[in-house]
C-alpha cells in the first residue's frame, strides 16, 4: 500500500512538472494584466524547438536554449499584439496556439520527414534522471528511506527546477520592487504610469519570464519526460495549467498545490484503469480525467471559494496623450 502510494506520488511529480512551469508562466503574465491562452502554443513550440535542436546538436542543454528562444519569441508576438497594438488577448492567444500547432508539424516534416516527429533522442540529448547520494543504501530503510530513494531521488534536473521555481516566484512577486510593480500593472496600470514607470516595459518583461518558463515546460516534455517531439504532444497541458492558475487563485503556493492535485488525479486515472472498486464498480477513467476541469468550473462559479483575478486583466492600457 505504502509502496503504491510512493509510486503514485512519484508519477505525480513527473506529470506535474510541466504544469508547474506553465502555470507559473501564466502567473507572471496574468498578474501583469495579460491574459495568456497561448500557454499551450508556447509549450508545444518549445517542445518542438528543444527536441529538434537536441537531435541536431546532441545536447539537451542546447535544446533547452532553443526551446526557450522559441517560446520567448512567441511571447513577444503576443506582447506585440496585446501591448503595442492593443489587440484582444484571447484572439492573440488563439492565433499563437493555431500557428504553432500547424508550424511544428510542417517544419518537422520538412527537417526530419518522420511524419511530424523528431528523431528519438539518446544519451546527452536528453535530461537524464539524477540519483541522489546513498539512494541505493537508503532504500532498505522503511518509510524515510523509501521516500528519499524512490520519491525524492531519481528525477531529472528540470523536475527539481520546477519545484525551486515556486519559492523563487513567490519571492519575485511579493518581495522585490519588480514584483510590486508587476502586480500593480495588473491591478491599476494608471497608478504605475503616474509614478513614472512604463506600463508597457513591465508587461513585456513579464511576458519574457512567461516565455522562459513555458520554454522549460516544453523542453521538459520533449527532452526529459519523452525522448523526442510528437505531433500535438502538449495535449492540453497549457489549458490545464491555466485551470491550475485559476484554481490556485493566481498565487504561487496554491498554484503549486493545484498543479500537484491535477498531476495526482492523472496518476490516479492511470492506476484506476480497469480497477473495480467494491460497491461502486469500475470507475471510468474519463471521470477522473475530467475532474480538474470540473473543479475549476465549480471554483469559478463560486461554489468552492471564489477566484478573483487581477483587476486590469485583459484590458489594453492606453496612455493618455495631451
Amino acid at each position: 500500500m505504502f509502496e503504491t502510494l510512493i509510486l503514485m506520488l512519484d508519477a505525480t511529480m513527473r506529470v506535474s512538472t510541466p504544469l508547474i512551469f506553465a502555470a507559473l508562466a501564466g502567473l507572471y503574465s496574468e498578474r501583469a494584466g495579460i491574459v495568456d491562452i497561448g500557454l499551450e502554443g508556447k509549450i508545444l513550440g518549445s517542445a518542438f524547438a528543444a527536441a529538434a535542436a537536441a537531435a541536431v546538436f546532441g545536447s539537451a542543454w542546447i535544446g533547452l536554449c532553443f526551446g526557450i528562444l522559441a517560446s520567448v519569441g512567441l511571447a513577444m508576438i503576443h506582447g506585440f499584439a496585446c501591448i503595442t497594438h492593443r489587440g484582444d488577448h484571447i484572439v492573440s492567444g488563439v492565433a499563437i496556439n493555431t500557428i504553432v500547432a500547424g508550424l511544428t508539424v510542417t517544419l518537422s516534416m520538412h527537417w526530419f520527414g518522420m511524419g511530424g516527429q523528431t528523431p528519438a533522442l539518446v544519451g546527452d540529448a536528453r535530461f537524464l534522471d539524477i540519483t541522489f547520494p546513498f539512494a541505493d543504501a537508503m532504500e532498505s530503510v522503511p518509510i524515510i528511506g523509501q521516500i528519499y530513494s524512490n520519491l525524492l531521488s531519481g528525477h531529472n534536473i528540470l523536475v527539481y527546477l520546477a519545484f525551486i521555481m515556486v519559492p523563487v516566484t513567490y519571492w519575485v512577486i511579493y518581495k522585490t520592487r519588480f514584483g510590486l510593480r508587476l502586480r500593480a500593472v495588473g491591478e491599476n496600470p494608471h497608478a504605475v504610469d503616474t509614478a513614472g514607470i512604463s506600463v508597457s516595459f513591465i508587461r513585456y518583461r513579464a511576458l519574457i519570464i512567461c516565455g522562459i518558463l513555458c520554454g522549460l515546460a516544453g523542453a521538459y516534455l520533449s527532452t526529459a519526460h519523452n525522448a523526442g517531439f510528437l505531433k500535438d504532444m502538449s495535449a492540453g497541458k497549457g489549458y490545464m495549467a491555466l485551470a491550475a492558475l485559476i484554481f490556485g487563485k493566481w498565487r504561487p503556493v496554491p498554484v503549486l498545490l493545484a498543479c500537484l492535485l491535477f498531476g495526482f488525479l492523472d496518476a490516479v486515472a492511470v492506476r484506476m484503469q480497469g480497477v473495480v472498486i467494491p460497491g461502486i464498480g469500475e470507475v471510468p477513467v474519463q471521470a477522473i480525467e475530467v475532474l480538474p476541469y470540473v473543479l475549476t468550473v465549480l471554483l469559478l462559479a463560486g461554489f468552492i471559494g471564489k477566484a478573483i483575478g487581477p483587476k486590469a486583466i485583459g484590458r489594453p492600457y492606453v496612455k493618455e496623450r495631451a
Binding site: 500547424g102 508539424v105 510542417t106 511530424g116 469559478l300
Partner: protein
C-alpha cells in the same frame, strides 16, 4: 477622430483584404522557408479547391462546417461574448444527431428523422453552451475559461459514451453502428442528377443548404429583431444596455444558446451527412477555425459565407497541395488559419489606425 469621415469601403473591404494579404504573404514566406515555390503552391491550392467539380464539392462541404461554427462565434461576438467552446458544442451537437439517428433509423423515414436531428443538434449544442452562459450571466465566471473547460469535458464525455455505451458490439473501432440509409442526409449530387444537373461526387450534402438558411436566419435575427438590437447594444456598451432596461443576463444566456445550437449543426453535416455513424473527434478543429472565419467575415453572414468558402478552399486545396508537393503537409493550412487570426484579429489595429487617419486627414484637407 470621428468614424464617420472614413469611407465605408475602407472598413469593410480595404482593411480586411490588407490583413488577409499579409497573412498569405507570411504563409508564402513559410513555404519559401521549406524550400518550395509559394506561387506554384498557390496554383495547386486554387486548382484543388476550384479547378474541377469534385474539388468544388469538397470545398463547399468543408465550408458548411465553417459557416456553422463561424456563425456561432459571431452571434456570441455580437453580444461581446467570446465563445471559444464551439468545438465542444459541435461535439455534443453531434451526439444529439447521432442519438436521434440511432433510435429512429429502423422505423422512421428521412423526412421525420431530418427535422428531429436538426432539433437534436440545436438542443444538445445549446445545452452544452447553457452552463457556461448561466455561470457568466448569473455568477460572473469568465466565459472564455469555462467554455475552454467544457471543450475538455465534452471530449472526455464523448469518449466515455462512445466506448462504453454506443460502440458496436464485438468491434474494436470506437464508433457506433452505421445508420440505416433512412437517416442519411442526401448528397447534393444525388439530389441534382434527376433534374438534369450533373455535379461530381463529393460529400457535399443537404446540410450546406441548411447552413445558408442559418445565415439568413442569423442576419434577420441580429439586424431586424428587437432581440438582435438588444444583443448589439449589449456588445457595444454593456452599461448603456443595462441603463436602457435590457435584461443583460437573459440576453447573454440566449446569445450563447443560439451560438451553441449553431455550432451543434456541425454534427448534422458530419454525422448525418458524411460519416453515417457516431465517431470520435469528428469536429477536427472546426470550432476553433470558426473563430478565424468570424473574424475574417467581420461577424456578418455574407462575410462569414465568403470566409468559410475561402477556408474550405484552403482545407481542400491544402489536401491537393500535400499530394502534389509531398514536402508540404496539410498542416500548412492550420498555419495560414492561425496567421489570419493573428493579422485580422489580434493585430487589427496595426493598419486600421493609420489607414483611417490617412482618410480622415484627406477628408479634412
Amino acid at each position: 477622430m470621428s468614424q464617420a469621415k472614413v469611407p465605408t469601403w475602407v472598413n469593410i473591404a480595404l482593411i480586411p483584404v490588407l490583413n488577409i494579404m499579409l497573412a498569405f504573404f507570411v504563409s508564402g514566406l513559410v513555404i519559401l522557408a521549406i524550400g518550395e515555390n509559394p506561387i506554384e503552391a498557390a496554383g495547386y491550392l486554387i486548382y484543388g479547391a476550384f479547378g474541377y467539380d469534385e474539388g468544388i464539392g469538397y470545398t463547399l462541404y468543408y465550408a458548411t462546417n465553417l459557416i456553422f461554427t463561424g456563425l456561432a462565434v459571431s452571434v456570441a461576438f455580437k453580444g461581446g461574448l467570446f465563445n471559444i467552446g464551439g468545438e465542444g458544442q459541435a461535439y455534443i451537437g453531434g451526439l444529439g444527431v447521432g442519438l436521434i439517428c440511432l433510435s429512429l433509423d429502423h422505423t422512421m423515414p428521412l423526412y421525420v428523422i431530418a427535422p428531429l436531428a436538426v432539433i437534436g443538434a440545436a438542443v444538445f449544442g445549446a445545452a452544452w453552451a447553457y452552463i457556461p452562459a448561466y455561470l457568466q450571466a448569473r455568477r460572473g465566471s469568465h466565459i472564455v475559461i469555462t467554455t475552454i473547460m467544457f471543450n475538455f469535458i465534452a471530449s472526455s464525455l464523448m469518449v466515455y459514451l462512445i466506448v462504453n455505451w454506443l460502440k458496436e458490439d464485438g468491434r474494436m473501432a470506437p464508433n457506433s453502428r452505421t445508420f440505416e440509409e433512412s437517416a442519411w442526409l442526401p448528397y447534393l449530387h444525388e439530389l441534382l442528377s434527376p433534374i438534369g444537373i450533373e455535379i461530381g461526387d463529393s460529400p457535399l450534402n443537404l446540410a450546406f443548404i441548411w447552413a445558408l438558411l442559418c445565415c439568413v436566419f442569423v442576419w434577420g435575427l441580429i439586424w431586424h429583431t428587437r432581440w438582435g438590437y438588444q444583443l448589439r447594444t449589449l456588445g457595444t456598451n454593456p452599461t448603456a444596455a443595462r441603463y436602457a432596461g435590457i435584461d443583460t443576463a437573459k440576453v447573454t444566456i440566449w446569445a450563447m444558446l443560439i451560438s451553441g445550437g449553431l455550432a451543434g449543426f456541425v454534427g448534422l453535416n458530419e454525422i448525418m451527412g458524411v460519416n453515417h455513424n457516431l465517431l470520435l473527434n469528428f469536429t477536427a478543429g472546426y470550432g476553433f477555425a470558426g473563430i478565424a472565419v468570424a473574424l475574417m467575415g467581420r461577424n456578418h453572414p455574407i462575410g462569414i459565407i465568403l470566409a468559410a468558402i475561402l477556408f474550405g478552399a484552403l482545407y481542400q486545396g491544402g489536401a491537393e497541395l500535400a499530394f502534389e508537393i509531398p514536402t508540404i503537409t496539410p498542416e500548412i493550412v492550420v498555419v495560414i488559419q492561425g496567421l489570419v487570426i493573428l493579422f485580422s484579429g489580434a493585430l487589427e489595429h496595426m493598419f486600421k489606425d493609420r489607414i483611417e487617419g490617412f482618410f480622415i486627414r484627406r477628408a479634412v484637407a
